[in-house]
Amino acid sequence: MLTRADGRRSSTEISGGVHTPRPHDSAHKHVTGTAEYIDDMMVPAGTLHAYLGLSERAHADITSMDLDAVRAAPGVVEVLTAADILHNDISPTHRDDEPVLADGVCEFYGQPIFAVIAETREAARHASMLAKVEYADKPHKTDVIDAMEADYPHVTDPLKLERGNAQDALGSAPNRLKSEMRIGGQDHFYLESHIALAVPGEDDEVTVYSSTQHPTEVQHMVAAVTNAPSNAVTVIARRMGGGFGGKETQGNQFAAIAAVAAKRLNRAVKIRPDRDDDMIATGKRHDFHIAFDVGFDDDGRIEGLEALLAARCGFSSDLSGPVTDRAMFHVDNCYYLPNVLLQSRPMKTNTVSNTAFRGFGGPQGLLCGERIIEEIAYALGKDPLQVRKANFYGLGERNLTPYHQTVEDNIIARIVGELEASSDYHARRKAIVEFNRTSRVIRKGIALTPVKFGISFTATWYNQAGSLVHVYQDGSIHLNHGGTEMGQGLNTKVAQVVAEEFQVDLETIRITATSTGKVPNTSATAASTGSDLNGMAAANACQQIKTRLVAFACEHFGVPENQVAFVPNHVRVGNQLIAFPDFIKKAYMARIQLSAAGFYKTPKIHWDRAKGQGRPFFYYAYGAAVSEVSIDTLTGENQVDRVDILQDVGNSLNPAIDMGQVQGAFVQGMGWLTTEELWWDENGRLRTHAPSTYKIPLASDKPKEFNVTLAGWSTNKERTIRRSKAVGEPPFMLANSVLEALSMATASVAGYRICPRLDAPATPERILMAVERLKAER
């Protein structure tokens, strides 16, 4: 703490400026249980509670719905069905394919079909079990391949990316192989389930407290379902107990129900599903099936590639268009593909509509690229790292992506080179091969995989942000911006930006809840862009105020502009040092506007989807990881022994928060590729819908030795906020190294001659079955 003993703030250094490892702004509240989540809020008198009734068929006409017993249950005030919802669609892309409550037909097992409103949550929940629903079953498909075979439709238009002539290159390449892979989905498992609290106001007004990453979209949905203009709806989000993409669109459903009920009954209504219902009724990461045909030379250098990426999108489009697009944008990863044809198939299935999840399709596309490299390496009997290096994008040449964006900021060779050395990759790989030669049951594997991840929303108009900054007469600062806090430390970083702009201690700045009433027309906090966009917008607001303050100082003190400087906790005017609050007070007395709305839009980006060409990304974030694993070839049990990571975060706004993002993303990615399995039964019912059946990593699953380094030398080539880079999603994909290391350990049972083709997640069962398959083939 730099406040001096006399209570005055330091004039030589601010506390909590940019590039400092400040703790999360709410950390002291997290650890004391005083950080307020929506379910912790004091509610208005008479607040009611809503609960959803879910369908019990994967695909059926709802022939009758007898809700008499539900209505008659103790404490029940109201029961809503599709007929009660004026505009029964919450499709984020306005396709009219996603009803709030199913209307006559249910398209997945667990689809909301009615909502009970009661005096208590328990009463609503009890009542929700009393419905008598009759169905006329229709055929259902939950699996993506089954859906393709049954000619299920696409939920949205597929994308084609093409450059060069893949067909010709495949024909002429010295080597060619075809393969396929299944990649599982993933539940977000944010610790705080979805929740919304709607408080009715005057006329058509309603205020909704929502656990959402996208308050503006919730505002639009609530406006639509309550038949009100957007200006009647205020959506407020102070913090989420985790989001990871699961609260980008999926909160709409709950906010819509709460708002409709609140307006209808003129009482506040809260809705919070049980964990199981949250997992059953809200979307997840898309499962993919990928199939590819690749031609390559004897060094493993790719000459031509055709790949088809099919995704289990669920019953509606939701964000499946942009998710499958982003998968396509990341098949290349760090590798130059001279002749390439990529196609997506966003398949409709009778499952919950899949949605955004950290990486947003990128991880699945990137994994496709990595599997291609791995297959080539096994085909040629090479270390996959060698093949990777042979295919890296070049500097100034071999640098055009399949979507015709030039890679201008390529640092992957340096990242990988440094990591190879610091992790002692080659010596360890040799030792592992030696270990495997003599170990009968336990086998080890090691893999180094790189990541290049494109930063920007591919929906170009999303790349804008607003902020609102007030300086009060005592010099304290109120900060508001359009981003949402879900644990990623966005508010802390943006506050650091403001502290740096005004040169005041971070403690001077009050972070306030995101509200559509303060900053309008916000974009989802997603695509890793939170601090890039909102940090810039906040800086812009500060600069507007500073410009006015400088002009004021020049006039008031009669000095030229270059004699006015914002120095730590003070403003220097000529040779006078004025404490920041004193200076602000003077400005106020001189009637200077001390408030500003900031704005930012990302420059340089453009994207023509029909042509499959453009510059969708402002820049790329890079990283690489080396993972070492052990497997038990009798059971498939395994563990991650050691992981080394080198991650590029540009010039980090907050190295402590960025470190947390890298560690957390990696472990989450590891869970996706190992123990987290979504399992549907023959009735199309998801059976892994609670932590008892769906297994995310524990403390005892984290890499036993976990060395994470931020590339301190890196800086963003583009003019981002303080030359930092996005960090939320890129490190998630570093976990590909775990899957490939497991694959190597498996391959050892057949002398590394056969690519094990492990599907994801590589559960103990998949590993053991692959071991058996390889033993039989060797």
Partner: protein, 493 residues
């Protein structure tokens, strides 16, 4: 003499003594804290005891004084807290707001991101710090098995646990008030039976085992609730009514472990945590399994008697106990009877327990000298997961190396915990060598026809079952054949 009856539940909540009447048998500690006391620091993450966001400490006076343990408030029923001291996250920081050392370490090490799991994690680390401030990595990981964090990847949380280990716990509030709290709690407990009537039915906390026997004779249809790690979910997930409910967690007579030369007699109310020391001493290879049952909170609540009595085909205690030849003692009224544990499990959902009868104790004989015994658990995630297969092996060899006795028991392979008789017969009388094992494994197909579900396919269950016998053999030959995260904590077979 019939026990006196009282109608108010008495306990301490942080610094206050509380007396409440008419609590529903299904009222959970979490709902009581959040909805009735407005103590919202404790969170609901899953309502099934698997995520730990609701972790609080419960202190109870037992034979070894006042012991505080972590529990999952989401599945802990209020009626089971008679005479207990509940300590929540709100009790940690100073009255003037200064952070507790555990909280401070979590802030300093960046141990929170979204913060929703954090109060529960703080409570688990607090419990560890009170108990073993100098805990090492394996112990910290074990403490956190029941706490999910989706944001941090756990590394900074482990850093916090190590950092706070350097600070003495002697001046901690709970240590400082131990004597006062003990006196307070002892004064609340008057030796009477607790009976609470509510709209949702009757809750009974018997005064003694004799009293329990009487209560169950009077209410043979009653739900007997021990640790509530299973019954809790009937309520939170299936909204089932459980009244009349009889809570037995306070019966110290059911919490005894008696050891003699031949074996252990474990009271039905002994928790996993309580049993750990004796079991891992007498059956060293069991400690690995024990560390993998539930998370710490579940092990602090769940009882061995409950795990057996609920008859689950995937309970983790029956296979090793059956392999060891355990016998179960049941009581009804004043009459007790003792049966082989394996005979208790009749069919799926059907056990040899009459209405009004309860599990009193289990006797687990020690293996003969020279016997080999091991138990293996296969699950998708190593810790805090339910078994796909749980396999226990015990063989006796004569001097010539011939198998004289074999007991192989399995969970997850049939509708009940079940022995592999055909495989056992193929081993007995044969030399203990690879060829005997290879001949025997094929016979698992005769013993079992497992199911496919979300935990594992039938093929995987069968294959691992075979391979676990192979593992058991290889380990008997001294070969290291398991992936072990912390080799230093492994017991000798």
């Amino acid at each position: 003499m019939p026990a006196a009856v009282r109608n108010e539940l008495r306990f301490m909540l942080n610094g206050d003594v509380m007396r409440i009447e008419g609590a529903s048998p299904t009222l959970t500690l979490l709902d009581f804290l959040r909805l009735e006391r407005l103590l919202t620091g404790t969170k609901e993450g899953c309502a099934e005891g698997d995520c730990g966001a609701c972790t609080v400490l419960v202190g109870r006076v037992g034979p070894n004084g006042l012991i505080y343990e972590t529990v999952n408030a989401c599945i802990r029923f209020m009626a089971s807290l008679d005479g207990c001291h509940i300590v929540t996250i709100e009790n940690l920081a100073d009255a003037n707001g200064a952070l507790h050392p555990v909280q401070k370490a979590m802030v300093d090490c960046h141990g929170s991101q979204c913060g929703f799991c954090t109060p529960g994690i703080v409570m688990s680390l607090y419990s560890l710090w009170l108990d073993a401030p100098d805990a090492d990595g394996p112990r910290i990981e074990k403490t956190l098995q029941g706490n999910l964090c989706r944001c941090t990847g756990y590394e900074p949380i482990l850093d916090a646990a190590r950092a706070v280990g350097k600070i003495s716990n002697s001046e901690d509030k709970l240590n400082a008030t131990r004597t006062d709290v003990m006196r307070e709690l002892s004064a609340l407990l008057d030796g009477s039976r607790l009976e609470m009537q509510s709209e949702a039915g009757l809750s009974i906390v018997p005064a003694s085992v004799d009293d329990l026997a009487k209560v169950l004779e009077q209410h043979p249809e009653a739900t007997v609730v021990a640790g509530a790690t299973d019954v809790g979910l009937w309520v939170t997930k299936h909204m089932r009514a459980i009244a009349p409910a009889v809570f037995v967690g306070n019966l110290t007579e059911l919490q005894t472990i008696e050891e003699d030369e031949d074996g252990l007699t474990i009271g039905a109310g002994v928790t996993y945590t309580h049993a750990y020391e004796a079991l891992s001493r007498c059956f060293p290879t069991m400690s690995v399994l024990w560390d993998r049952i539930g998370g710490e909170q579940v092990r602090n609540m769940g009882t061995i008697g409950g795990n057996i009595a609920n008859g689950s085909p995937i309970g983790d205690t029956p296979p090793p106990f059956i392999a060891l030849g355990a016998r179960l003692t049941l009581q009804k009224g004043k009459r007790t009877r003792t049966i082989d544990l394996e005979d208790f499990f009749i069919d799926y959902g059907k056990q040899d327990r009459e209405p009004g009868e309860f599990v009193r104790s289990i006797y687990v004989p020690k293996p003969n000298k020279g016997d080999r015994f091991a138990v293996y658990k296969i699950s998708k995630r190593r810790d805090e997961d339910i078994s796909a297969v749980c396999a226990a092996f015990r063989i006796s060899l004569d001097k010539a190396g011939t198998v004289t006795n074999a007991r192989l028991a399995f969970g997850g392979m049939a509708a009940t915990p079940k022995r592999a008789n055909a495989v056992e017969n193929a081993l007995i009388g044969q030399p203990w060598d690879e060829s005997t094992v290879e001949t025997a494994v094929a016979l698992f197909e005769r013993d079992f026809a497992p199911l496919t579900d979300w935990r594992a396919s039938a093929e995987y269950r069968m294959l691992t079952t075979k391979n676990l016998l192979r593992r058991f053999y290889l380990e008997s030959q001294g070969e290291a054949v398991q992936v072990v995260r912390h080799p230093e904590t492994m017991a000798e077979a």
